[in-house]
Amino acid sequence: MMRELHVSLNQTQKVRLQAAFQHLSDIGSQASSGLLVSVSDTIPVNNEDGILKGHGTSERDGQVVATVCGVVERVNKLVYVRALRARYKPEVGDIIVGRVIEIAPKRWKLEINFSQDAVLMLQSMNLPDGIQRRRTAVDELNMRTIFEENDVICAEVRGFQHDGSLHLQARSQKYGKLERGQLLRVPAYLVKRRKQHFHDLEQYGVDLILGCNGFIWVGEHVVPADNEMVEDQESTLKDKEQSYTPLEIRQNICRIANSVRLISALGFAISVDAIIDTAEASKSSNVDIKDMLGAEFYVQTAEREVQKRISLLKKKRG
């Protein structure tokens, strides 16, 4: 996870960056109507009855107070504070990317930036052809052939068990082990829940998974294979020979990954559009992949974001 990028800016770049940040904060304060609070601030509720105090709030002397820093949100009578920088708070159905920490009996434990390790049960995995798993001892012994420690996995949040542990499931073809790519960690608040979290960036030959937990996967595009089991030994051998990622794809992965790094370092919300936008901009202005995290492109990205938000604001106002 990274906080602000440490780049050495020259004097003009410093001024430009300052100006861009100033613009952004001006736009931000114009656009957002939400009240910002920090810990122990009182949240005005006009003495209404039956106020529900949601996440990030508590009561003191009959008043609602914030327990975290963030934005006050209101839904009917529910008042809650949307925390910004905090660990991931899982919701059922979220797509997450995680790393296997430990293999325990019948389950894997995954680090997913939550307050506990998440549990992926062996029976929450379907066999490759989509058949439900039967519980056998052999199957349990062969768990390492599916995932090993330090593997990166994509899965879906199934829900909290009664004992309070968080369970995942990976019963679909698109979930499972992620290979040949980069895992990036960004603050979870930068990834918004959307309808789509899997993205196939065709023009780059790259798969992008924006995990709700702030883990972002950028990897070589895999064709969702349904009948992998049918292939015989010979062809898998041949596969192995060919199984290197072409240089171009590797470069693309790095470019996309650097875009993500840049956006998260600037603290902008991470979306596919923003990532592609940044990558395209770096390409069109002939910025090398290694220079994407350099001072000049950093400032440029900030300035581009300013322009984008100004035009968006204008559109909104008609």
């Binding site: 952004l24 934005v71 910004l84 307050s115």
Partner: protein
Amino acid sequence: MEYVNPLTGFRLDGRRPNEMRQIRGEIGVVAKADGSALFEMGNTKVIAAVYGPREVQNKGQQMDGQALVRCEYSMANFSTGDRARKSKGDRRSTEISLVIRQTMEASILTHLMPRSQIDIFLQVLQADGGTRSACINAATLALADAGIPMRDLVTSCSAGYLCSTPLLDLNYVEDSAGGPDVTVGTLVKMDKVTLLQMDAKLPIEMFTDVLQLAIEGCKAIANYIQEVLLENTKKLECMRGS
């Protein structure tokens, strides 16, 4: 030695008796931590990093109803002028770790994060008296930065009594004068004291004055911290965009 000039009423470093040193807080100084902060009180400089809530490392310590809070305090070798080696596990740092842990735990809503662990790492970069207070203030900032829910902001400040004068925020010279040194930690809005330590004797009639002075100091720090936090929140929200 005259710690307070009888003529001008100024202290050795030129402050008035009820004047605090300059304070400065900065959020987000450790990239990998969930929350981090740098806090300066005059020449005292402390860095705090918070990890968690995360999976408990030692399963035996896991608690079903609440989070485990751990705190590690250490002083950098270069933080003081003398060349004596400061080992990490010495008595003084163990004691301070414990004190800070208890103080912070009183504020953290641990029941909201069951079966997890929160680690607070405190490193003194520069020591010039009042490291305890600076650590608590830095920890508060770092915890808030990590988005860990807290009842209230915990702030701390010390006060002493030298030359028949209550003095706010003692520096190293004043601290080592051997006079009484009262370190107070408060939950400011709730008006509660969570930490009270005193090293030497102090007449009871003077004690309230000194305590009151320290509490005033806490309040001033709380205001400042709140400002820093709000500024930081605003920046994050604005940068994120809608």
